[in-house]
Subunit: 464 residues, 2 copies
Amino acid sequence: MSLTSLPNSEDLKGQKIIISGGGIGGASGALALAQRGAEVTLYERAPEFKEVGAGLQIGPHGVKMLEKWGLKERVFAAGYLPKEMQFRDAITTETILTMDFGEEFKEHYGAPYLVIHRSDLLAILVEAAQEAGATLVNGIHVHDAVKDDEGVTVEIEHREGEDNSGKGKREFVRADLLVAFDGTHSAFRKKIAQDEPVPSAYVAYRGTSPLAEDEAMKDLNAVVGYIGPRCHFIQYPLRGGELLNQVAVFQSPRYLDSLVSGDEVPEDWGNNEEFKNAFDHTNEFIQSRLGRMWLNTWWQMADREPLQDWVVNDRIIVMGDAAHPPLQYLASGAVMAMEDSECLALYASQAAAQGELNWGEVLRDVSAERAPRCARIQTTGRFWGELWHVDGISRLIRNETFRAAEGTGWFKYADWLWDYDADRREYLKDPSKGDLPAELQEWEYNIHKISRQRDSKETDELTV
Amino acid sequence: MSLTSLPNSEDLKGQKIIISGGGIGGASGALALAQRGAEVTLYERAPEFKEVGAGLQIGPHGVKMLEKWGLKERVFAAGYLPKEMQFRDAITTETILTMDFGEEFKEHYGAPYLVIHRSDLLAILVEAAQEAGATLVNGIHVHDAVKDDEGVTVEIEHREGEDNSGKGKREFVRADLLVAFDGTHSAFRKKIAQDEPVPSAYVAYRGTSPLAEDEAMKDLNAVVGYIGPRCHFIQYPLRGGELLNQVAVFQSPRYLDSLVSGDEVPEDWGNNEEFKNAFDHTNEFIQSRLGRMWLNTWWQMADREPLQDWVVNDRIIVMGDAAHPPLQYLASGAVMAMEDSECLALYASQAAAQGELNWGEVLRDVSAERAPRCARIQTTGRFWGELWHVDGISRLIRNETFRAAEGTGWFKYADWLWDYDADRREYLKDPSKGDLPAELQEWEYNIHKISRQRDSKETDELTV
């Protein structure tokens, strides 16, 4: 066997690992670590394992990991393998780029492209983690943790009441390692970064509906993204073609106004009132589909600035959305968390197999590999979103760039994202791989630019 | 001999043709018509034939005509054949597209790419027109013309005084045809269109300087265009490499402000004060070159709306800048005028060779062929200029589109412009060839958009 430890080894036998958070990231972490023989306990605050949202796109970088963890059959059966991804102009509906997910794609990236319901993926990961020997516990919130020379003491709190909202009994648990997959409002990120989420001014509406009886859509076999000025609209099948997943995303004028003016942000930005007319400038086909979106929930989309170091200390690391909440444009939020899990389990088991498991060193290596990678995904996601939403002449140029990419081949744009293997340690060896490519380095995120311009105006006023 | 009459025929023998205007258009018209045997008199208001400006780019669509008229050796000797055209980003100087003007280019378009001093080209055309038998007269202004069943009576005015500015003796001259090449402020266009020039908000500074002693530039053998936010900068050699031609173009903030506000436009928009800092955001190389620009003259760049029909009546037609003044971005202003000349001479001689020379029919055919062609060049020129001048994310996308065009081949973007032959009558057969391609049809010229938004605001105010 090579240095590359495969799952289902005993390399981490005797290592006690606590995971905080039972979303896709935490569950995948429990699975990857348990498969290497670690004694994993996962604590989830909520009374049951569940995901909010609907469909989730998993690129080949994620599918490769699901296959490695032995879940190929389960996720393929629960999800859907789209034939291709079509980018269309949201005003004309013209297809400006088709990314074929056929044989050439699968050979190039080593795996197909998958879409799956978030709940289905979570259920599969939870089940598989349990099968691998991990203990997954609901109703327990990981409150804090303190490391010492021999491990970490984790303070947990038993949530009480029917909805687990009450404060409950506290308890201390010992472990060798704490992995904080505790989401974008992570308690452990606070120990290393005093930052806030960065709202993008965009809001998502989602909806699933039966596909078979949907005359206009019943032949859909692709991921279709209509990209348009200040909005986009995504459609793809789920659950073997049973369900239609739709996502409608638009820029909230009220959020933008408050960002520009510096006035207080309305809490309900992106509400139904704003949704009502947000797609009036797009093709009537898109408008005809919006009746199927859920109206009771909407997602105000935000990310955070990239974090350069995820290591809280030698025994605690943040991962998943706690470390790198992205915008959704590269469909890599869940995949990054899975990559984090696999990278941690892999590097730890490799170190253990060499007889040198020093968690501090492992965490530093994992962070050095993963942080630049995720920074690039976060930053590129911001750029990619802006590219989707341009208007006027920029939109026409964008469309031509997409058409040209179909001609010259688009793999060159996607390889950095989809052709990844933590075992190559490429970011660890060359952290500059986390930067945007030279052609994009002068680009400034529009949200940054607006804030900068507003702040410089405020400074002007102060100095007058 | 085929229907395609070659120059130096006698097809138009006995036809008396007056041309108003002795610029490149009028001189080429005199040449093309005289070469078909017509009795041509050209009147130029100024006391001598001269061109303002400096270098002129002649694409293969123009060079083909110069060759057809027998001027190949003269223009090649007077001008310069650049090796290639380089588009560079004005901020980084990165070359984003190189258009090779070598063998493949010459074979594809049937002629090379030429740059030549405007004065040199005009002198060659004037000399050749005279050699072909045309009479070219300075100091006479074509004032008006009235057609009757048998021809046209042209009212000319002898300019007086040393600078020919005074009003002088009027005289009536008879002809079979009057061709008005009398420029963008044409007296004859007024008979068919009540429009005004449309300023682009961009202003050009020009300059020529000796190339041999210019250390930084002495190896220049290409047309190089640095394109940047709200400005661009062009360099190429002239006169066999003796002279360096430079053009610095930028958007005038003062013009733009007055366009947005509706306030009075300052007459000197684009003046030296504005020029001084207009390139501060570009690469220091460009800034280091601006000391060689002439400061005493600047060109406020404007075009006009495309004109659908150039026929004033059966005996009078407008051509050249009188019919279709363009922005300069496609370097086709002079070439369009030459195409007009050749088209008129060709269609007339073909009709005459068939024994059916009816000037009304010829003019209608010429206009039906030429007007859509020139409309497309005018409109595409506006678009092309905007594409050069975009900022922010649009600039990064534009750069990628240019890089992609180098990969996929850029002929497809240029064929409509550079692969033209009036003898194919392609626009006459299908006037829709004059439209922008489908991908660009929703594009709105920024100057139109600003005017529209200003006007709608004014209307709002009125209705409040």
